[in-house]
Subunit: 102 residues, 2 copies
């Protein structure tokens, strides 16, 4: 097994952190935000309109994504522009798709 981590099992505390990370991916609103951002940087209002949801909802979820370093924010005047923070995001989503699409 050419395995990166499992030769030595991840410790228990790491698994708690990992669960927290996957919790973030385990919500469709957040997934929709992330896939929208995989296309281009967007402001909060643009995301809200794209998803047909309230600005407040999006803002709350963006905070969760930011805290988990999955998105990054940049201010431009009155708007905040969000984008994906790193490539792991796309890769994690792709792995998940691999599983459910058999």
């Amino acid at each position: 097994m050419e395995n990166k981590y499992f030769s030595e099992l991840p410790g228990e505390e790491v698994l708690y952190d990992l669960a927290d990370l996957f919790k973030v991916f385990g919500d469709s609103t957040r997934l929709r935000i992330m896939t929208a951002l995989s296309q281009s940087e967007l402001s909060v209002m643009q995301i809200a309109e794209a998803l047909g949801m309230e600005q407040s909802t999006i803002s709350h979820q963006l905070r969760v994504l930011r805290q988990n370093k999955l998105v990054r924010a940049r201010r431009d005047g009155k708007q905040m522009y969000y984008s994906l923070d790193d490539d792991h995001v796309k890769k994690i989503i792709e792995m998940g798709l691999d599983h459910i699409l058999e």
Copy 2:
């Protein structure tokens, strides 16, 4: 972008299924079960002892994992032996670790 899925964004229904999948990974008990099973096939009781948790708890969570095709069960006499169902499991966990371990 040499991207497998994002050239065409995943549809909304797919994202709901995907969120459900990640919800399964978003619980430390289930993650601990999966990492334990990444080492070897184990019976319900063996898992319960390894994690220091009740048989019932493990059994409930194994059902969730089974329903999501993440583990597979095999009966041998009185015991049920569980193992990981496919390689995606390890890969998804590895991707997550990549993110949190920077």
